[in-house]
């Protein structure tokens, strides 16, 4: 027997200087390691927070939208020109409703014989399809024909964006008043501002909003005097040359209030015209434009108009696809895992299969798309763009993941449970299904749900089997054309209009919520089934 202190010099105990030095080094290494760990976690948290903040920031404007609350006279001559009172015909008669809305707006806002350009600008306040809910509502409630109904009409995406502060930079000035007005609304108005100071402020705003680095860029100003909106053509000192845009067709009174709206870009350079802005401002002043929760994001299907586009079809499509995926991947995966882990003999063939399953998990997903297109669509002749095919492809994609996760869960079950079951005379199958599988269930469920979550986020293979098609209808079943959330996001992100941007972010949030829900289910199931052994 040798005592641990036998080799140390007689002068000291085992706490020698070298030992202390080494100890110090070890502590330092430990501190360093802890610091690296914290730094890594910090970076991860920062990345996550940045991602979430940017997505939610972008998406926030998509969750509310501005609508025009309009009291519409449902006139039979427009909506039911044949007088058949056939609800289906009425619902389909979108152009009739549209015409009715357009005419009633024109009556309110336009002069007797407006130019086509002005008409187009007015009709551009809302989208053609914004009347769809009106048509639907009228078809459902035939008695409303001939009465006045208040409807919320979705504003065009650009107007919506403008109201949310987009489209162009702007600045509002409250001017102190006017000293003199001359001219007429038809030929042009000359307005002299009340004070020199107002003119200076207006000029300063115009200069500050004009971007110096871009040619042809000059700020524009809209002037509201009393109930009338003008465009400022040019300004010389206090004297402004104005063109009538909208509002009361009379010259403002001498005591009318004057406000200026300075916009960073002239109307040639933006998607919303001066006149549309003027109308919007008037409607807003009248309190007929209000912000509502954008339920259409969840209830509508895809549309070419961002203000009408919603995720409903994609959500249902995703659900159907997931259903097919789950029905394929989970049972097949679990049974494959159980067989491989519990029953299969250990030989070259099974190890080959194991290696291949592990490799399959690493195959790029687009390869599965190619496979799906080749096998399910070309060979088996299944229709394109349907959740069935999408689900099958995704099912194959996540199958290796489910098998690997399930096998890991099965291996984690202590062998003593198996021998215990065998020891009381259970057959192999009984021991597996009565004891091993229930114990592995939480792990298998977690693995499966994580696999599902992966499938939910897959885009590439679905593009190849045509699920990128434009689908305006909520699919009825797995054999109906549909799209899925990630593909929808991909499509929206490529949309040209600015309004697609928040819409895309909103769709991403819907997808994230979906994923979080699935993970939540995974955690809850795990907690529920987890048992000590």
């Amino acid at each position: 027997m040798s005592s641990p202190t036998a080799d140390t010099p007689a002068t000291g105990t085992f706490v020698t200087d070298e030992a202390l030095k080494r100890l110090k080094k070890r502590h330092a290494a430990e501190m360093r390691f802890k610091f690296y760990g914290r730094a890594a976690i910090g970076i991860a948290i920062i990345a996550l927070v940045t991602l979430l903040v940017s997505i939610f920031g972008q998406a926030s404007s998509a969750f509310s939208r501005y609508v025009l609350s309009y009291d519409l006279n449902i006139e039979a001559s427009y909506v039911d020109p044949e007088g058949t009172r056939d609800p289906q015909a009425i619902e389909r008669n979108v152009s009739g409703f549209n015409l009715m809305l357009q005419d009633q707006l024109a009556d309110e806002f336009l002069s007797e014989d407006p130019s086509r350009n002005v008409q187009r600008e007015l009709y551009g306040l809302f989208t053609r399809l914004a009347v769809l809910p009106i048509a639907h509502h009228t078809a459902q409630n035939m008695q409303t024909i001939g009465t006045e109904q208040v409807f919320n009409v979705a504003l065009a995406d650009d107007i919506d964006l403008y109201l949310k502060g987009g489209v162009t930079q702007r600045k509002s000035l409250d001017l102190s008043g006017l000293s003199r007005v001359s001219g007429s609304v038809e030929s042009g108005v000359t307005l002299v501002l009340g004070t020199q100071e107002d003119a200076a402020r207006l000029n300063e705003a115009l200069t500050s909003l004009t971007r110096q680095d871009v040619e042809d860029s000059s700020a524009a100003a809209l002037i509201q005097a009393g109930q009338t909106w003008f465009r400022m053509e040019n300004a010389e000192g206090r004297t402004l040359q104005l063109t009538y845009l909208a509002g009361a067709r009379t010259l403002p009174q001498a005591d009318a209030s004057v406000e200026a709206l300075v916009l960073a870009q002239s109307q040639e350079n933006r998607t919303v015209t001066d006149r549309q802005i003027a109308w919007t401002m008037i409607l807003k002043e009248q309190g007929r434009i209000k912000s509502v929760l954008n339920t259409s994001l969840f209830t509508n299907s895809d549309s070419t108009y961002p203000e009408l586009a919603g995720t409903a079809a994609a959500v249902v499509g995703s659900l159907l696809t997931m259903l097919v995926t789950a029905l394929l991947a989970i049972p097949v995966g679990i049974f494959a895992a159980v067989y491989l882990e519990e029953f299969a003999p250990r030989n070259r063939l099974t190890s080959l299969i194991e290696v291949n399953i592990n490799n399959l998990a690493a195959v790029p997903s687009i390869v599965f798309g190619l496979l799906g297109a080749a096998v399910f669509i070309n060979f088996l002749g299944l229709p394109r763009s349907v959740p069935l095919v999408g689900g099958l492809v995704l099912g194959l994609l996540v199958l290796p993941t489910v098998i690997i996760a399930s096998r890991a869960a099965l291996t984690a079950v202590p062998p003593s449970i198996r021998t215990a079951a065998l020891g009381v005379g259970a057959s192999k199958t009984q021991s597996v299904f009565h004891h091993v599988l229930p114990l592995a269930a939480p792990g298998i469920l977690t693995g499966s749900i994580i696999g599902m979550a992966r499938a939910l986020g897959e885009t590439a293979p679905l593009l190849l089997i045509g699920m990128v098609a434009f689908v305006a209808e909520v699919p009825d079943g797995p054999m109906d054309e549909s799209t899925v959330l990630p593909v929808l996001i991909y499509k929206w992100s490529t949309g040209a209009e600015r309004a697609w941007e928040p819409q895309t972010a909103a769709a991403i949030i819907v997808l994230l919520v979906f994923l979080v829900l699935m993970n939540l289910i995974a955690i809850i199931l795990r907690r529920r089934f987890e048992r000590r052994w």
Partner: protein, 274 residues
């Protein structure tokens, strides 16, 4: 002083007579060889195990005693690489015969393992599982009876009767092992195999298990593997010493522990191995 030696001799012989009388043979193993792949783990072991007694297998680690034990309920069948040859007769029938289903055999030959391994289910279900899969109980009342009887035999009834629905894993180590014994008893086996049943238990729990084994001896043929020679000496009537896959010595426990015939046995039990 003179008489003491004589007295000692007399007691020895009387004990010998009671133990090595004509106890019926329950399990008769003949020429058993076990191979793991190409490695031979058991070399031609022949052994007769008496009914209603405790037979202990001792020997250093890796000597094949557990492997041999597992031959008796064909647990080695579950290990792919293992191959068993030879004949094991239980009440005259060769259990290694292909016509005997190991599942049925295991209902006659119960097994208790080294580490208490109750199912992660309730105490009731732990006991009831065996009878249920073998169809031993036709109703709830009958099952209740089996559960109570098994727990009573295992000396656990008084401790758990108020919490039969509590998970089996919530019991202490010793109680868990007794639960496992009760579970083995529940299918009314004839032979109970125990593979180091006390190695994971504290001395008090061990003593309780040993006392239980001693009681069970009246009804069952018990074969146990143990690493503790003291335990073998305390509870068994017959002891078999294994070394390197061979049966070195088999005989009355008393003889093995006072005067073994074989030098290897002597060295092992006196702690001189090496």
């Amino acid at each position: 002083m003179d008489g003491n030696v004589e007295d000692f001799a007399e007691t020895t012989t009387t004990i010998d007579r009671t133990q090595s009388g004509s106890a019926p043979i329950k399990v008769d193993c003949r020429h058993i060889d076990v191979f793991y792949d190409d490695k031979q783990a058991i070399h031609d072991i022949s052994l007769e195990i008496e009914d209603r007694s405790v037979t202990a297998f001792i020997g250093p680690s890796g000597c094949g005693k557990s492997t041999f034990l597992r031959c008796i309920n064909r647990m080695n069948d579950t290990i792919e690489a293992a191959k068993v040859t030879g004949e094991i007769f239980m009440d005259g029938a060769n259990i290694n015969d292909p016509s005997i289903d190991p599942v049925l055999l295991r209902s006659r030959v119960g097994m208790v393992f080294q580490k208490p391994n109750p199912f992660p289910k309730s105490i009731y279900d732990n006991i009831g599982y065996g009878p249920r899969i073998h169809g031993l109980a036709s109703g709830k009342a009958e099952m209740d009876e089996i559960v109570e009887k098994s727990l009573r035999k295992a000396g656990l009834w008084e401790e758990v009767k108020d919490r039969l629905q509590a998970p089996g894993t919530s019991l202490s180590g010793g109680q868990q092992q007794r639960l496992c014994i009760a579970r083995a008893i529940a299918v009314s086996p004839e032979v109970i195999l125990m593979d180091e049943p006390c190695s994971a238990l504290d001395p008090i729990a061990t003593a309780k298990i040993e006392e239980l084994i001693d009681e069970l001896r009246e009804r069952y043929c018990i074969v146990m593997v143990t690493h503790s020679m003291q335990q073998a000496a305390r509870v068994s009537q017959k002891t078999a010493f294994f070394h390197l896959g061979k049966l070195i010595e088999y005989g009355d426990t008393e003889k093995i522990f006072t005067n073994p015939e074989h030098g290897r046995t002597q060295d092992y039990i006196t702690g001189r191995f090496g």
